[in-house]
Amino acid sequence: MTTEELIARCKSGDAQGQSCLVRTYAPRLMAICRRYTKDPASAQDALQETFINVFKYINSYSGKGSFEGWLKRIAVNCSLAFAKKVHPVYFVDESPNSDMQMSEVPDAYSNLGKEEILNLLKRLPESLYIVFNLVVIEGYNHREVGEMLGITEGSSRGSLSRARSRLIDMLQSENGVGVNVKKKIVATS
């Protein structure tokens, strides 16, 4: 079944087509949802929400642009909405201070696997982590990121710049800890 046939069947509400769509794209979309949510259960909820929206709005997909890109966009939006529901993320509106592209990082980091990279990135503040993900991993431009997050394009640039700066600091420092989190649980009475 080609993608066009698949889309057509889903548009007509065909259950087999819908099942096929889920089976084909769920693993890739799940990877996206996992990047933006804290735990697997939240990722699953976000993925479910993604497919609900996909089937709800599939008639609005005109065929322009990549279908997978369209799906990814929904997955990212759903994951972000889900993440925001759990706790709000604040973005600071600022301009980039400098370009870090030419900074040096230890060569050892070129061999990092996916999980290690993800663990490293998750040590960034959440607002920076999200922008970094959207730009570097998903490949969205700052205008798109601004639209998705409800921030200005400049803020997106600034956040990315700060994310890079923090990342470089982390990589260059032995401990690489750029965020101090102090968290305590207070028992209920």
């Binding site: 769920a26 592209q101 696997g113 990279i117 503040p125 102090k182 209920t188």
Partner: protein, 487 residues
């Protein structure tokens, strides 16, 4: 390595990223009707084809086997005479007569003789089935095997026929009664041949001399005379055979489907040193409810009030962790941290640096985790009727745990929850537990009843999952509603 190369490495690493998903569960959760996959369709067609083919083969087999004989059905005539016998026989070796037809004594003799001797000299045995009522009279009978509803078989030589399966007419009295279903007759001229070499013929024979008196007047006189002879040797004059009886007490088997709600009584015990996780869990983790569904078989014997029950049960215990959180996230960003103006006022110095910001998060949350148990309960019980259609009983038993698993988030560290299904240290079985209780029920019909049971379950084993220094034990008490169906 330049940073931009590292960033390139990151983006390439996630270019075709995918993660494992239970797509079936996802499809189910989306409410998409399950459509047969092509493979499943093939399997379905294959199985259906095999089933149809098997049915066809079995059908053909029975058709061929039941069509071997050359039957003549003479359901129209009430009396078979020489003429209509001959006209109906048409050279066939087989006669099938309806119940209400009368076959004259001589005809019966002759027919049997004809079948044995004329039609096929080698045939020495006739098998009669189908609700034969009355007498079979044949002078040349030497071998008789009887099945249902044959009242008696008469040998007109006056020799006794025994009601056993094989009778040698030459040496036995001429009458017997049997309630078995097949009659086998062979002539006396020859010795009894081996069943395997005999071509058995099915003959339904009714002698109307007894059953259909109106037919007697139509019979030739020699038949009536013969009947008189046979009446003289009525059953009962022969040596009576006493049947042997064995009374078997029947087993009562019933199915019990149950649904129950229980209150978990959890006991957390810290067997390590000071443990803040234990303190928090002990204070904030509450057991919600346990539900159980089960299907059991109950077996008892006769009216004995004792019974044995065994089956399978699934139990889910729910736990809830109440949490209030209050934490501060410190972050830094680039910004203006100082502006200095010189004494003369002609120079303004701006200093940029890391501006530290703090964000405080407070809130409440509830996290749940569940323990899933699959058990084999076995119980022995005592059940007695009380007033009317009500009954009551009590039982004790053991429950063997087949599998224990967990799901949800369990509090593991002062600021961390673990997905219980992913925690490797969890135990997969909690061994044996004991239970006891009593029940009341009401019979709805001869086969069905409903009952309400109160039960207490004790687990001697611990359920500790994440932290080996915390022992988690349970007792459960609850009510179960059940439906009983007796076979």
């Amino acid at each position: 390595m330049k940073y931009n190369n590292f960033e390139k490495h990151i983006s390439e690493s996630f270019l075709h990223d995918s993660a494992a998903v239970d797509t079936d569960a996802l499809i189910a959760s989306l409410g998409i009707p399950v459509a047969l996959e092509p493979k499943k369709k093939i399997a379905w067609w294959l199985l259906t084809s095999i089933a149809l083919l098997s049915l066809l083969v079995v059908g053909l087999y029975y058709f061929v086997n039941t069509s071997k004989g050359n039957y003549i059905e003479d359901s129209g005539s009430s009396i078979l005479t020489d003429d209509n016998w001959n006209s109906n026989n048409n050279g066939s070796s087989l006669l099938v007569a309806e119940h209400d037809e009368a076959i004259g004594e001589n005809k019966a003799k002759e027919e049997i003789a004809i079948v044995d001797v004329v039609v096929n000299d080698e045939i020495e045995e006739i098998v009669a089935t189908t609700e034969v009522t009355g007498s079979i009279i044949a002078s040349d009978i030497s071998y008789v095997e009887v099945d249902t509803q044959v009242d008696y078989v008469t040998n007109d030589t006056g020799k006794k026929l025994d009601a056993s399966k094989v009778i040698e007419a030459n040496s036995e009295p001429s009458q017997f009664i049997s309630t078995t279903s097949t009659v086998r007759v062979s002539n006396s001229a020859n010795t009894i041949v081996n069943d395997r070499t005999v071509i058995n013929k099915e003959v339904g024979i009714v002698n109307s001399a007894v059953k259909n008196r109106s037919a007697i007047s139509l019979l030739p006189i020699d038949i009536v005379e013969s009947q008189v002879v046979s009446m003289a040797t009525l059953p009962g004059l022969a040596e009576p055979e006493c049947p042997s009886f064995s009374y078997r007490i029947p087993w009562n088997i019933a199915l019990l489907a149950e649904v129950g709600v229980m209150k978990p009584m959890k006991n957390l015990e810290n067997i390590g040193g000071s443990n803040s996780v234990f303190d928090l869990r002990d204070r904030n983790e509450t057991s919600k409810e346990a539900i159980q569904i089960g299907l059991h078989a109950k077996i008892s014997k006769g009216s004995n009030p004792l019974y044995v029950r065994g089956g399978a049960a699934y139990t889910r215990i729910a736990e809830q962790m109440n949490e209030e959180y209050d934490y501060i996230e410190m972050d830094t960003m680039r910004g203006l941290i100082s502006i200095t103006t010189s004494m003369t006022g002609d120079t303004v110095t701006a200093i940029y640096g890391d501006v530290i910001s703090e964000t405080r998060y407070t809130g409440r949350s509830e996290k749940h985790y569940y323990l899933h148990l699959i058990d084999i309960p076995v119980a022995i019980g005592y059940e007695i009727p009380i007033t009317g259609s009500f009954y009551a009983g009590a039982e004790v038993g053991v429950q063997f745990n087949l599998r224990t698993s967990g799901s949800g988030l369990i509090f593991r560290d002062t600021n961390d929850y673990a997905e219980l299904s992913e925690v490797t240290t969890k135990e997969t079985k909690v061994g044996m537990s004991y239970f006891g209780g009593f029940h009341f029920g009401k019979h709805l019909s001869k086969r069905s009843s409903i009952q309400l049971s109160a039960r207490f379950r004790y687990y001697p084993s611990k359920f500790s999952t994440v932290d080996p220094t915390i022992e988690q034990r349970y007792n459960l008490a609850g009510l179960h509603a059940g439906y009983v169906f007796r076979f």
